[in-house]
Subunit: 212 residues, 2 copies
């Protein structure tokens, strides 16, 4: 499988999944500004027309998009890693969390806060609405280690998103349960490795943009 990613973007959740499974995947870096791949300067829009990451080229050659679909596909393709419940009820709970993270956190809260082209009013609006979502999440995580009974692709996605807080006005110290969760999950070897590698690539990306 081949993952199209940009450093520290939500595509990192899939990298974490691969590391959890101890599986070799090919990682193709996409510059989020130029929408070109770094390794061969190819047009990423030819792979995924809307230009956002992740996209996953499966072993059949098909290109999948949309984070929660890719994460479930990878979890199912690598069952030994146990990254998703296999019973119907557990799968529904996984889908609940993937949907919540994707819609309420990623899209409604973090995307406007992280987008430099978003107007200040859009950021304020997102932040006001988002607090209740973080409260809700903190309550859920106050007395458990993971979103579900064990680490899953939903945690890989959530830790990626919550870590974006440092680049936003969201101060996670106001939600001690979330801060503790992020600290705990980032200690997993798969997560620590993914963050370390992507942080380096992110610094290089910033340097490239500054030069351009």
């Amino acid at each position: 499988m081949q993952l199209y990613f940009s450093p520290l973007a939500c595509s990192m959740a899939t990298r974490i999944a691969f590391y959890e499974a101890g599986v070799d995947a090919r990682f193709v870096e996409v510059d989020p500004k130029t929408k070109r791949t770094l390794e061969d300067d190819a047009d990423y829009l030819a792979v995924s027309p809307l230009g956002y990451v992740p996209a996953l080229r499966t072993d059949d050659g098909e290109v999948l998009t949309e984070n929660s679909a890719i994460l479930q596909h990878v979890a199912d393709a690598l069952p030994q890693a146990k990254l998703a419940p296999t019973d119907a009820r557990g799968r529904t709970h996984l889908q609940q969390w993937l949907c919540f993270i994707g819609t309420e956190l990623h899209k409604a809260l973090y995307t406007p806060l992280l987008d430099e082209r978003a107007p200040a009013e859009a950021k304020t609006y997102a932040l006001e609405k988002g607090r209740s979502r973080l409260d809700f999440l903190a309550k859920h995580l106050a007395h458990r280690d993971h979103l579900l009974d064990a680490f899953s692709v939903a945690d890989a996605y959530l830790v990626t998103v919550l870590t974006w807080s440092v680049a936003t006005p969201i101060d996670l110290t106001k939600w001690p349960a979330l801060l503790a969760y992020v600290g705990r999950v980032r200690e997993r070897p798969s997560v620590a490795r993914a963050f370390a590698e992507e942080r380096d690539l992110y610094v290089k990306e910033k340097a490239r943009h500054a030069k351009a």
Copy 2:
């Protein structure tokens, strides 16, 4: 099963699924402003702490939230209606579309446009970013009747969301393929019935709010 809904909200997709299956469900209306149920003036926040619809009480008594999780649960619970592919690849494609509709359309585009408290700048920003998503969708639907090979819960969700356009600056006549799709899908008896019923309830909701 018992569906908590508000008229013409994204919860309508689940009503459509029930009508497709010809199954009796209980529909409990939630006032989106007061967050109370109409039938017995109960506090909806006690059912779903964040207060948004849909929520689904399953036959086991469990409350599920998040539209794409609920839609997949209902499709799986009513297999005779064939509202979701059962093969792995088809299910991944369904999840792609549910995720795209939920994140790129519903949350990133329509939510700010429909929210009267959203500042004008947030609306303009959403609209600019959203056009490429509608272009992409129109291209996909130009030569096919449904998002997948047959009608699915993703269509139930999409037709609900696209119909919100009338209350936004999105002029669907600029995307003839989307306009044709909405017209086509709304002719399905399940969809026509759901819209007719919820439109009536919506008018009553508006009258109630005007009086309050």
